[in-house]
Symmetry: C2
Subunit: 209 residues, 2 copies
C-alpha cells in the first residue's frame, strides 16, 4: 500500500491529487508543520530531508515532487498521466515540472523559508527576500503563461501530472502578492482544476481534521 | 542532430558528459556568460528562460537538467544510463537529480546569483546570502554523503545519469567555501569521474577556445 506523507497547502498536494487521479490505493499521513513534526526523529527516519512529500512504497521511500509524479504516471499507465512511450514528450513534461520545483517553488519559498539561505537572525536580509517575491514569482508565471502553457491542459489536450503541480503552485499566488488576473490561462486552469472530482476529494481530505 | 547549448563550468556540464557517455551524435554551442549571450534575443528565441543547458532536437528544444538527462538515458537505452524498466528505481534516480537541481544548485546559486531573490542594489542582503552558502551547501553534501550516495556510483553498482550531475555540482565545492575532504565518498567519486575518457574529452572541449 502506498502511503503519502503530506502537510496541508504544501507542494505535496500535487502528489496527493495525482494519486487520486490515478485511481491508486493509498493512505495518507498528515504532518503538522506548526508542531515541527517534519523534524522529529520518527519522520527523519522516513525522510532524512525533513520535508514533504514522501511516498512510502513496498520497496522504500521516494521524495521530490517531480520524481514522485513520474513514478505515479509510470505505475498507473492506464490513467494516462504522462506520454510514457515518447521520450521527447516525456522530457517536455519533466522540464515543466522541474521548472516548477527548482525555480517557481524556490522563488515562492523566499517568502517564508528565508533562513534556508541567510542567517535566521538577519531580519533585514529576510525582509529583503520577502520584498522580492512578488516580482520573482510574477516573472515565473509570466513565462508559464506566455511560453509554456499549451492549453487546455499544461501540455495540450491531455491531462498530465503537470496539471496538479501547476494547480498546487498557482494556489500560492495571492499569498505571494501576485494577482492571478495577470495570467488568464493559469487562472482559468486553476478554476477548471478545482472542479475535478479528484481535486475536490483531496482538498476536502486535506481540510478535514 | 542534437545540439547542446552550454557555458563552461555551468550545470550544463552534466548533460554534456551524459551525451558523450551515451555515444550520441551531437554538436555544442558555447555561450559566453561574461558577454551575457544567454540574454540576447537570438538565444531567448531558443530558450526563453535565458539559461543553460538547452538541448535542441529535431522536435524542439528541451531545458532543465533532470529532464535532459532522463531524455538522454531514454533515447540511448543501449548506454544503460538509467533503470528504464523499473519505475521505482527510476524514481530514486530522479529524486537524486531533483535534489541536486532544486536544493543543492539553488543553495550554490546564492553565492553569485543573489539578485534573483533580492534587489540587485541591496548589497547587505546579497552579502548575507553569500555568507550562508558554505553552511547550506555543506549541509546538502552531508546528506548526500550520509544518506544518498550508494557507491561505488551514486545509485550503486551501475553508472547512471546521476553521476555526471553529482560530478558537476561537486566541482563547485571549493568555490562555495566547502572542503571536499569532509565528504570522502563524494571526493573519491569526483576523482574517479575525472578519469573517465568521456569526462576528459568533454572537459577538454569546454576548456578549449
Amino acid at each position: 500500500m502506498l502511503k503519502l506523507f503530506y502537510s496541508p497547502n504544501s507542494c505535496a498536494l500535487a502528489s496527493h491529487i495525482a494519486l487520486q487521479e490515478a485511481g491508486a490505493s493509498y493512505e495518507t499521513v498528515r504532518l503538522d508543520f506548526r508542531a515541527n513534526e517534519q523534524r522529529k526523529p520518527e519522520y527523519l527516519a522516513i525522510n532524512p530531508k525533513g520535508r514533504v512529500p514522501a511516498l512510502a512504497t513496498d520497496r522504500g521511500v521516494l521524495t521530490e515532487t517531480p520524481a514522485i509524479l513520474a513514478f505515479i504516471a509510470q505505475s498507473f499507465p492506464q490513467a494516462r498521466l504522462a506520454p510514457l512511450d515518447d521520450a521527447f514528450a516525456f522530457a517536455r513534461l519533466q522540464a515543466f515540472n522541474s521548472y516548477l520545483c527548482a525555480t517557481v517553488h524556490v522563488a515562492h519559498a523566499h517568502r517564508l523559508r528565508g533562513p534556508r539561505w541567510v542567517d535566521a537572525g538577519d531580519a533585514a536580509a529576510i525582509a529583503a527576500m520577502q520584498k522580492k517575491v512578488p516580482q520573482s514569482v510574477g516573472e515565473c508565471f509570466e513565462l508559464i503563461e506566455r511560453e509554456m502553457f499549451a492549453g487546455p491542459w499544461v501540455m495540450g489536450d491531455g491531462y498530465t501530472i503537470c496539471d496538479p503541480y501547476l494547480f498546487t503552485v498557482s494556489r500560492w499566488l495571492e499569498g505571494d502578492g501576485v494577482d492571478p488576473a495577470r495570467f488568464p490561462k493559469v487562472r482559468d486552469h486553476r478554476q477548471r482544476m478545482a472542479e475535478r472530482p479528484a481535486v475536490k476529494a483531496v482538498l476536502e481530505e486535506e481540510r478535514s481534521e
